[in-house]
């Protein structure tokens, strides 16, 4: 009897383990790709291509507050970014003064105008992005064209990327963003976010995919240039070849994709 019970327990244990690991294997295996395999996927024929997308901000062309507001509003309206009046706010694009933007460049003797002026800030789409390195779920990842993209569906909201980003480019949805958006939302073609996920500038990856320039570039009237850094003929390479440019915190080795003409 005793022996029988022991054997029973053994078999029960082994079968439970087998069932459990089978279930785990199914979870890990990701069967859905097979199930949905009756169609195929391709790029849009309108898509813009680049080996490495980069942005050049001509700070000399941003003179008044209206110049900044125009591009920021274009971005925030297009992406349904809420305007939250607390420290728990969301920003894809914003401005700050020289000493806050270029913290490495502590030269108090710069022209007064330069120190007092505002500068445009956004995600730098680094070549070596620390946020991608630290993300535990690959919710943020680098595309082949250099864009640091996000999958809001997968983000668990651990905020490791926010600690990792040396540029403060990321925002966390501490609350439901729709509470601070108009109804209907500013751009019904673009989703909002849900509480508990991180978000940031996407270099308008979904606009590039259909042949459009980023929303801020389009609204800037030539003050922001956008193009392929690997193409010597591109607008950004030409602008960088002819003007003096700086980047934020170059000593960290992240290789930002956003350049400032000063």
């Amino acid at each position: 009897m005793n022996n029988g019970r022991r054997n029973f327990l053994k078999i029960a244990g082994i079968s439970a383990f087998a069932l459990g690991s089978g279930a785990a294997a199914t979870l890990m295996g990701g069967a859905p790709a097979e199930a949905a395999g009756i169609g195929s996927y391709e790029e849009s024929s309108r898509a813009l291509h680049a080996k490495r997308w980069a942005m050049v901000i001509d700070t000399r062309k941003f003179r008044t507050k209206a110049d900044f507001d125009k591009v920021i509003r274009a971005c925030h309206t297009y992406h349904n970014v809420p305007d939250i009046p607390t420290e728990q706010d969301i920003k894809w694009m914003w401005t700050d003064t020289y000493d806050h933007v270029f913290t490495d460049d502590m030269n108090e003797q710069l022209p007064k105008k330069m120190l007092q002026d505002k500068y445009l800030l956004l995600c730098n789409h680094c070549t070596n992005p620390p946020c991608v390195r630290v993300c535990p779920t690959q919710a943020t990842f680098k595309l082949e064209n250099g864009i640091v993209a996000m999958d809001f569906h997968r983000c668990i909201g651990c905020r490791f990327c926010m600690a990792g980003c040396p540029y403060g480019a990321r925002s966390f949805n501490y609350m439901d963003p729709r509470k601070y958006l108009s109804d209907p939302v500013p751009n019904p073609k673009y989703p909002t976010r849900m509480p508990g996920v991180v978000e940031k500038c996407s270099f308008c990856v979904e606009r590039l995919a259909v042949g459009l320039q980023p929303a801020c570039v389009e609204a800037s009237g030539g003050a922001i240039l956008f193009g392929d850094l690997n193409d010597p003929q591109s607008v950004v390479r030409k602008a960088l070849a002819e003007n003096y440019s700086i980047r934020r915190k170059p000593s960290l080795g992240t290789q930002p994709g956003v350049y400032y003409l000063v």
């Binding site: 979870l27 890990m28 607390t86 420290e87 728990q88 706010d89 969301i90 920003k91 700050d96 000493d99 806050h100 933007v101 913290t103 502590m106 620390p130 991608v132 390195r133 630290v134 993300c135 535990p136 779920t137 690959q138 919710a139 997968r154 983000c155 668990i156 909201g157 651990c158 905020r159 490791f160 926010m162 600690a163 990792g164 980003c165 040396p166 540029y167 403060g168 925002s171 966390f172 949805n173 501490y174 609350m175 439901d176 849900m194 509480p195 508990g196 996920v197 991180v198 915190k249 960290l252 080795g253 992240t254």
Partner: protein, 387 residues
Amino acid sequence: MVEKLLKGPKCYYMWLLFLVAVIAVCGLVYIQQLMQGLTVTGMSRNVSWGLYISQFTYFVGVAASAVMLVLPAYFHHYKQFKRMIIFGEFMAIGAVVMCALFIVVDLGQPQRMANVMLHPSPNSVMFYDMIVLIGYLCLNAVIGWVTLEAERLDVDPPKWIKYLIYLSIIWAFSIHTVTAFLYAGLPGRHYWLTAIMAARFLSSAFCSGPAILLLLVLGLKRLTGFDPGKEAVKTLTVIITYAMCINVFFYLLEVFTAFYSGIPGHQHPLVYLFAGHGGSVPWVTWCMWAAVILAIGSLCVLIPPKLRENMNLLPWALGALVIASWIDKGLGLLIGGFTPTPFETFTNYMPTLMEVMVALGVYAIGLLVISLLWKIALDVKKEAGNF
């Protein structure tokens, strides 16, 4: 052995009831947090980690500290610790449970937690942290249970457990090293970007963890009469003293590097923590100075053998040490890491009442786990005549 949980004195039930009540109330607060989002906390865009992650960090240290009993007992055959080891291992289990819960309550989307396993990302330190913590939990559960079972049956533990114990010793170092890597590998966070971070974490863990254990065991002695042994207490106090000296030494190394090198980025967090910014003194500054005084005070008692062995003074010194190390690692580390911000600006962080209550709830769950496990251990020891 589980049946040992069912019979106990009245105060045992009252204690459990109290913990369950605390857990229930704090659980309600957590449900509020789930519904409203992390906006109920004091965290912000600039200070995006707060009390939860700092408590996680602190308790990984407490979990790792069990090794300060296990290592002398198994690598150096120091027999005096054998009576107490099971309490260290069971405390580690409670601490790891707390760590896991602190991560969960910090997540914005906890229902998607499994994504960490569904999309494994070996480039993320968080991925390794999950693995080492789960591994450490399993190791301690198996080792604790098997050795206790052997004690109950009055036989030697099976031979294979020894290898698991050796593994757990190395593993304990790894959990806190990996936790330090969460911080030490981030560019642009000056206060964290230091090669000595893991060493600091370990030294702070190896003084604060055993100090908490010793305080609890001394309390247990009053409550139940279980004597850990005079020699064991003495040796553990010496270990705590050395670890605390190293901990303070490491901190001073950071201060030297920051100020002698003259690099502003390295100085700013220290200046903010100890002197505030622009004439305004944040609340954390008072805590930091309190930590300095408590650390010095505890060392003044712990270093001279005469005072250290005075059993009336010892609990006070240990208490001061625990508070000092908690302020350093459970408050200062996080706040100094995020302030100044990447824009060299200052955003003050203060946990909200709801945030504190959720954290208290996690403490209560950890205490409940430890209480139940210790109850089993005590009753088994009583039965086996090893009381």
